[in-house]
């Protein structure tokens, strides 16, 4: 649910990065943070455990620029990927405007991907959202690793609705901005329709 402020001429939107544990959601945000000009970003907040696993969420505010005199801001959130943090994941999905599903391309993580994607659908439904109606993109991360599935197989399993999808290697930034731009664009197009 975007927030339009006519008084300060701002529009704020919320993007959530979803996916199984250790798929690279936080790494996506860290790369965006590193590569964004200081005046366009706020502080990145990570509520993580001592072993740097996301405990509640990561948060990164980004200012993209102006459209028709309105400052456009995106708030990027990640969810904790580990299965037992489901209650926290539900909370973070509240008020979401767009979703990025980050998949782990490794063969052995396929089951975790499928489980996480099912979990995303269920949790969105609980909040009254339908994934097929939300701005939504998929990222196949860790393309640099040896034991990965082919893009065709990943697509068949994880992207049956054929939303925009991207190959990525978030540690070096490949595909990170392409993914973000794509979901941001879908959100703005959605807003344009006046939803």
């Amino acid at each position: 649910m975007s927030f339009i402020n006519y008084a300060s001429r701002e529009i704020n939107c919320k993007i959530v990065y979803y996916g199984p544990g250790l798929c690279g959601k936080t790494t996506n945000l860290q790369y965006v943070y590193q590569k964004t000009a200081p005046d366009a970003k706020g502080k990145m907040i990570s509520l993580a455990t001592e072993t740097e696993r996301t405990l509640f969420f990561d948060f990164l505010p980004l200012a993209l620029g102006e459209i028709r005199g309105f400052k456009t801001r995106f708030h990027l959130y990640t969810v904790p990927g580990q299965v037992f943090y489901d209650a926290s994941r539900k909370l973070i999905l509240k008020g979401v405007d767009g979703v990025v599903f980050v998949a782990d391309s490794q063969e052995e993580r396929m089951d975790a991907n499928i489980e996480s994607l099912d979990n995303l659908r269920i949790n969105l439904k609980e909040q009254g959202y339908d994934l097929d109606k939300l701005p939504y993109v998929v990222q196949y991360n860790k393309r640099d690793l040896p034991n990965i599935m082919t893009i065709e197989d990943l697509r068949t399993e994880l992207n049956p609705t054929k939303v925009p999808d991207f190959e990525a290697c978030a540690t070096v930034g490949e595909g990170v901005f392409e993914t973000l731009k794509s979901v941001a664009k879908l959100i703005l197009i959605d807003l344009k329709k006046g939803k």
Partner: protein, 163 residues
């Protein structure tokens, strides 16, 4: 979409700021923020320069969401007031009108009792302003009036944002 979009207009923005400015003085507070339950900052008064307001808004909303989850687990609807006590500064966080969060930061020059008392009064005023805002948005929607700035954006406008 399941929830209605939050829209803020100049008139109500002014009214809201008047209420929280007054609360700032009456409660002897240092800073006051109003935050949307989704973590978007609506407004802030007082010594706001000293704080990272965007992060504060996001963490406050996360905090309210987490305690709301706890409330549901024990069969409560929500915990409408949270109080965090620090060595010097304290935070009084409350839910206004079921949808926005009022954050009052104060130190030893004020007291929890005073803040609670003043917040209660201001909450009612804020609540009615937000009700008015909701009605206004609903009314506009019903009449099909749209002053939405994005209705006329072009694909080029969107592309330019990323160039």
């Amino acid at each position: 979409m399941s929830t209605q979009q939050m829209v803020m207009y100049d008139e109500e923005f002014k009214e809201i700021n008047e209420v929280i400015e007054r609360l700032l003085k009456e409660a002897n507070a240092k800073v006051i923020f109003l935050v949307d339950k989704n973590g978007q900052l609506i407004s802030g008064v007082g010594d706001t320069e000293r704080f990272d307001t965007t992060s504060l808004a996001s963490l406050t909303a996360g905090n309210i969401a987490a305690t709301g989850g706890l409330a549901k687990l024990i069969g409560e609807k929500e915990f409408s007031i949270l109080f965090h006590e620090g060595e010097k500064d304290n935070l009084h966080i409350s839910i206004v009108g079921g949808r926005v969060i009022l954050v009052v930061l104060f130190d030893s020059r004020s007291s929890l009792g005073l803040v609670r008392l003043r917040v209660k009064k201001s909450s009612e005023e804020l609540s009615s302003i937000f009700d008015k805002l909701m009605r206004k948005a609903e009314d506009k929607e019903r009449r099909g009036v749209s002053d939405f700035p994005f209705a006329e954006i072009t694909d080029d406008d969107i592309d330019n944002l990323f160039s």
